[in-house]
C-alpha cells in the first residue's frame, strides 16, 4: 500500500504485469474510491459548469458523461474531470483525488445564483470493472440490461449484487468496461461479489501500477504528470475538448490566443529502442541538445516496448521523428509515435 492523495492505495495485488494482462485479455477490478465526487443541484448547476470547463456540456443529454479539462484564466489545466448529467438541474463531477479540495474551492468561488454544491467523496466508493469480459461478469450480478449502456453513457439506480449503484460505461484502461459508483458502506460487498462472479472468467484485482501502464498504453493522460496548471489542453493534445464556439468560459481567451499564435510545445508519445524506462522528468534530446522532457514513461506490457509521453517543440512532434531520452546519463534512442500505443479491436468490445 502507498499513500496517494490522502488515501492508502494498493500498487499491486498479484503483480503489475499479470494484472495488466488480465485486464487486456479478460477482466480486472480496480478500487478507485479515492476519486472525488461532487454533486451540483439547482438551476445554476449547468451554467456554472459550462462556464468552468472547456468542453461543451450543452451537447450532453441526461444519462451521458462528458470528459473535460477545467482551466485557469491563463488556460492552464486545474484538473481533468468527468461531468455526469444526471438531469436538467443535477450534475455529478468526478475529480482527481489530489485536486478535489482545490477544485471544490475553485468551483465554489465561481458559484453565483441557484446551485447547491455537495462533496460526496468521502461516502462514495468507485469500482472500475475493466476488460473484454467486463460486461459478461456484470450481467451475472444485475437484472439491468447493462450491455445496452453505450460508451460514455450511464444508468442510475442499477442493482449490482443487490446494492444500488450508478453504472457508467467509462474507464481509464483502453478496454471496454464499467465504472460503478456506490455508497461506500456497500463497497466491500460489491467488490467481493464481482471478484466471485468473475472468477470463472479469470478476473483479477488490479492496483495503481497496472492502472498506470494500461492508461499509458491507451494514450490517456494523468493530471499532475502529463498536465497541470502550467500546461494548456491544446499543448497536451486535448484540443478536441476545447469548444471555443460554445460561448465564454474561463480560459477561453487565452486558449483562443494560443490557437491563433501557435503552440510553444506539444505532448507526444515515444517508443524507445531499449527496454530502459523513461521516467517523469528525464530530458528528451536530439543531436545532443535538450529539446524537451518526459512526463510519463513505463514498459508497456502489451506493446512490449518502453513507451512514454513528453513535451517537445512542435517542429519535433511528427510521428517517426528520431529522439533520445537521457536515462541515467546515457542517451537511449527512440522515435516519436502516434497515440495511442494500444487500441483494442472494435469486435472485442
Amino acid at each position: 500500500m502507498v499513500p496517494f492523495g490522502g488515501w492508502e492505495m494498493p500498487v499491486q495485488y498479484s503483480g503489475i504485469m499479470e494484472e495488466h494482462r488480465a485486464v487486456r485479455a479478460r477482466a480486472g477490478l480496480f478500487d478507485v474510491s479515492h476519486m472525488g465526487e461532487v454533486d451540483l443541484a439547482g438551476p445554476g448547476a449547468g451554467p456554472l459548469v459550462q462556464r468552468l470547463v472547456t468542453n461543451d456540456l450543452s451537447r450532453r443529454a441526461a444519462g451521458q458523461a462528458l470528459y473535460t479539462p477545467m482551466c485557469t484564466p491563463d488556460g492552464g489545466i486545474i484538473d481533468d474531470l468527468l461531468v455526469y448529467r444526471l438531469g436538467d438541474e443535477r450534475l455529478m463531477l468526478v475529480l482527481n483525488a489530489a485536486n478535489t479540495a482545490e477544485d471544490l474551492a475553485w468551483i465554489r468561488g465561481h458559484a453565483h445564483g441557484d446551485v447547491q454544491i455537495s462533496d460526496r467523496s468521502a461516502e462514495t466508493a468507485l469500482l472500475a470493472l475493466q476488460g473484454p469480459r467486463a460486461q459478461a461478469i456484470l450481467e451475472r450480478l444485475t437484472p439491468a440490461p447493462v450491455g445496452t449502456i453505450r460508451y460514455y453513457w450511464f444508468r442510475e439506480g442499477v442493482e449490482v449484487a443487490g446494492r444500488r449503484a450508478l453504472v457508467s460505461r467509462t474507464g481509464y484502461t483502453g478496454e471496454d468496461g464499467f465504472e460503478i459508483y456506490l455508497d461506500g458502506r456497500h463497497a466491500v460487498h460489491v467488490w467481493d461479489a464481482i471478484l466471485e462472479a468473475g472468477k470463472p472468467a479469470g478476473i483479477l484485482p488490479a492496483g495503481l501500477g497496472a492502472r498506470d501502464t494500461l492508461r499509458l498504453e491507451a494514450g490517456l493522460l494523468l493530471h499532475g504528470n502529463d498536465m497541470d496548471k502550467s500546461t494548456t489542453p491544446l499543448e497536451v493534445g486535448l484540443g478536441w475538448t476545447v469548444k471555443l464556439d460554445k460561448g465564454d468560459f474561463v480560459g477561453a481567451q487565452a486558449l483562443e490566443r494560443q490557437k491563433r499564435e501557435g503552440l510553444p510545445r506539444r505532448l507526444v508519445g515515444f517508443v524507445l529502442r531499449e527496454r530502459a524506462i523513461a521516467r517523469h522528468g528525464f530530458p528528451i534530446r536530439e543531436d545532443g541538445a535538450t529539446i524537451g522532457v518526459v512526463t510519463s514513461g513505463s514498459f508497456g506490457p502489451t506493446v512490449g516496448n518502453s513507451i512514454g509521453l513528453g513535451f517537445v517543440p512542435p517542429e519535433h512532434a511528427e510521428p517517426g521523428r528520431r529522439i533520445a531520452v537521457e536515462v541515467r546519463g546515457r542517451a537511449v534512442g527512440g522515435t516519436v509515435a502516434r497515440l495511442p500505443f494500444y487500441k483494442r479491436d472494435a469486435e472485442a468490445g
Binding site: 503489475i16 527496454r275 524506462i277 518502453s306
Partner: protein, 128 residues
C-alpha cells in the same frame, strides 16, 4: 529461498565461488521487492568492479535500483541472455538470472559478506 552455499551483501546481491571465480546475482528478496523486472544494465566484459560500488542497474515497472558488486575484481563474463530476457530475475534469481562472473582481486572481502542465516535475519525472514 536463500541457498546456504552463497554469500550475501546487505544490498541484496549474492556471490557463489566457482573455483577461482565468483558468480554474482541478486537475491529473491530483491527480486520480489522490485517485481516485474523489465531491464538490466550490466558492465562490459573486461571492466573492473569494486567492492560495494555500483556495477549495473536493474529496473522494474515500479522502480530502478543500482547493483552493487559484492567483490572487487575483473568482469570475465556477463549474462547476455539475461539482458535479453530480464524477467527471469523474478523466476530464477539464483540460476538463469546470474548477472556477472568476476575474477576476484581479494577473497578476504568475502568475510564482510553475510551467510544465509545472517542475510535472512537482515531481510526479516525466518529460516525455513
Amino acid at each position: 529461498m536463500y541457498p546456504k552455499e552463497l554469500r550475501y551483501s546487505k544490498e541484496h546481491e549474492w556471490v557463489k565461488l566457482e573455483g577461482g571465480r565468483a558468480r554474482v546475482g541478486i537475491t529473491k528478496f530483491a527480486a520480489d521487492r522490485l517485481s516485474d523486472v523489465v531491464y538490466v544494465e550490466l558492465p562490459k566484459v573486461g571492466s573492473e568492479v569494486a567492492f560495494m560500488q555500483p556495477f549495473g542497474v536493474v529496473e522494474s515497472v515500479k522502480a530502478v535500483s543500482d547493483l552493487y558488486a559484492p567483490l572487487s575484481g575483473k568482469v570475465v563474463e556477463i549474462n547476455q541472455a539475461l539482458v535479453e530476457k530480464p524477467e527471469v530475475i523474478n523466476t530464477d534469481p539464483y540460476g538463469a538470472a546470474w548477472m556477472i562472473i568476476v575474477e576476484p582481486r581479494d577473497l578476504k572481502e568475502l568475510a564482510q559478506l553475510l551467510d544465509a542465516g545472517a542475510y535472512m535475519a537482515l531481510v526479516g525472514e525466518r529460516p525455513s
